[in-house]
């Protein structure tokens, strides 16, 4: 589907977004990309194509300048199952840490439009944003503290699901995190979820779709089983746009599809409406 041209300015908190890896041409419209112009536009092409952001960019985009206070950033993953092939898990996580990435989920407190909140952002660059013990621990602790302190909880997801290399303990994070989601809901704290491309598997089937308000980015792929596996398992021909944000809107799973450039203003407004 054709998206309306992005016209609104990004109302960012002030700091510049970090550079991200970009193709030479936009996958949405084919235009050759100007990285600097895109960066000022929250990495949304004029055609409406949203490029994937890491957790660092999300924190800059959503947190008021200077308000970010990261929590439990020093809790690190390690190889529990002695996972060796095709690549040792320990080498995978060490290499990502050397690249400056700190796990698939970062969490902490900040303000958004002056309102103190808890923020958690997935990072797809870290083993596909997969739910790990450390990711689950950061999410559950943050939600427990949000429930106890009454601060709203804001989640930004981008994840392939549970992390294979942590085996069944990664699967159990879905239960661990959802136990905390239940407490968040019974405490009366608002929980807003922003689903970005892609959100699948154990992350979609745990906290990401259980918010009070589910917001998806245009074109984001959201589902449980990925299209490749569906085709393998059922030989089905999937229509264009299957599992897109717009597909999930039509099927009642998300409340709205919102341009990234509009997101901060929307969230600030929601935070005023849900005190």
């Amino acid at each position: 589907m054709q998206l309306a041209k992005v016209q609104h300015e990004v109302r960012m908190a002030g700091a510049k977004l970090p550079p991200i890896a970009l193709p030479t041409n936009c996958p949405g419209c084919g235009v050759s990309l100007d990285p600097e112009a895109l960066r000022k536009h929250a990495y949304v092409c004029e055609c409406g194509h949203h490029f994937r952001l890491g957790a660092d960019a999300w924190i800059i985009l959503l947190a008021d300048r200077g308000s970010w206070h990261e929590r439990w950033g020093d809790v690190r993953s390690h190889d529990l199952l002695n996972w060796k092939v095709p690549k040792p898990y320990q080498a995978t996580i060490d290499q990502l840490a050397d690249e400056g990435l700190n796990e698939a989920v970062r969490t902490g407190t900040c303000t958004l439009g002056g309102r103190p909140i808890w923020l958690a952002a997935f990072d797809f660059r870290f083993v596909g944003g997969t739910l790990s013990i450390v990711a689950g621990e950061r999410l559950a602790r943050g939600m427990e503290q949000a429930a106890a302190s009454g601060l709203p909880y804001l989640l930004v997801s981008a994840s392939g699901g549970a992390r294979m290399q942590e085996g069944v303990l990664a699967l159990m994070q879905m239960a661990k995190v959802n136990a905390a989601v239940g407490r968040l809901h019974s405490s009366g704290v608002p929980f807003f979820s922003v689903l970005t491309d892609p959100t699948f598997g154990g992350t979609a089937a745990s906290l990401a779709l259980l918010a009070d308000i589910n917001i998806a980015e245009p074109g984001a792929a959201i589902g449980f089983t990925g299209p490749r596996v569906i085709k393998q398992a059922t030989y089905a021909d999937l229509p264009a746009g299957f599992q897109s944000a717009e597909f999930q809107l039509a099927r009642g799973q998300v409340d709205m599809v919102v341009l990234r450039t509009e997101l901060r203003r929307l969230l600030a407004h929601l935070l005023e409406m849900y005190p």
Binding site: K176, S206, T225, R251, G252, Q253
Partner: protein, 286 residues
């Protein structure tokens, strides 16, 4: 040895042989156990919204003198039945049926027994269109609010989120030759190697056998199976499972609901604490 002192024989089987036993075509399925545990079992149907999911058997039966809600993934024996049961792979309606019966149990104070035996939730377009991700997510969250004792047993395959959606319980036990995994070996191989023929290597790395899960502290007990596997003697397998389920359910029946729910929360909230305590946990117990 299990925590309760039952002798668990050492195994000489390879990991892949355990996977094959867990999937054995003659292995007892949920209804084979439920009819032996509660001969007066009455099956109940439907999610009360749109459909009945035949991949999940649900109903009530008298178990140790007490009305009990039974839930279980059901695979089929003949090809026709397998198709009808969708190989034990649930659609969103199945998770809603399970929650409906969970609230039913809560209303009457019935304990719940959940038998897990599924390759996973159904990986098809229809399940996606009707919101399988959110259905599983909601089920997992709601299980933490059901104020009656829940004991789950993995009797064959515990595949991924489709299994966990039925596996939030106060106690989780496993039959000796069952498996419980973040993804099926084929799916894990497809994800990690992009090649699902590497399933044997994937199975070996995933640590998915009952003994692995007991060592990780994810399940409370491994229930020994008859010589050669549960399919060799349905009655004997059901007797040992019955005894283990009841031994776990009994102390729960006396607990006040708030204590029960707090312990259920903590069971999953700190399920990886054994790992935190042992940073270099890794080698398998054999």
């Amino acid at each position: 040895m299990t925590r309760h002192g039952r002798r668990l024989e050492e195994t000489t089987l390879t990991v892949w042989q355990v996977v094959e036993l867990a999937r054995h075509a003659s292995r007892p399925y949920s209804l084979d156990y439920i009819r032996r545990l509660a001969p007066d079992f009455i099956e109940l149907h439907g999610d009360r919204i749109s459909a009945d999911d035949p991949a999940l058997v649900a109903g009530v039966g008298t178990w140790h003198g007490r009305t009990t809600v039974f839930l279980g993934h059901q695979k089929g024996r003949s090809l026709k039945e397998r198709v009808a049961r969708n190989w034990g792979m649930m659609h969103p309606e199945g998770y809603r049926k399970a929650l409906r019966l969970a609230h039913h149990a809560a209303k009457f104070g019935f304990p719940i027994i959940s038998l897990i035996d599924t390759p996973g939730a159904y990986p098809g377009a229809g399940a996606e269109e009707r919101g399988i991700a959110a259905a599983i997510a909601r089920a997992i969250m709601e299980w933490f609010r059901i104020p009656v004792p829940i004991v789950a047993a993995v009797i064959g395959e515990g595949g991924s989120g489709g299994a966990l959606g039925m596996g939030v319980a106060d106690r989780v036990i496993m039959l000796e030759n069952s498996i419980y995994s973040v993804a099926s070996p084929e799916a894990a191989a497809s994800i990690v190697w992009r090649d699902n023929s590497r399933k044997v290597e994937a199975a070996e790395q995933l640590q998915l056998t009952s003994r692995d899960l007991l060592a990780m502290g994810v399940v409370e007990e491994v229930v020994p199976e008859p010589e050669g596997g549960a399919h060799m003697d349905f009655d004997a397998a059901a007797r040992v499972l019955d005894e283990a389920l009841f031994r776990h359910a009994q102390p729960l029946l006396a607990q006040p609901a708030d204590v029960l729910l707090q312990h259920r929360y903590e069971r999953f909230r700190y399920i990886d604490s054994l790992i935190h305590a042992e940073p270099h946990f890794g080698p398998k117990i054999d």
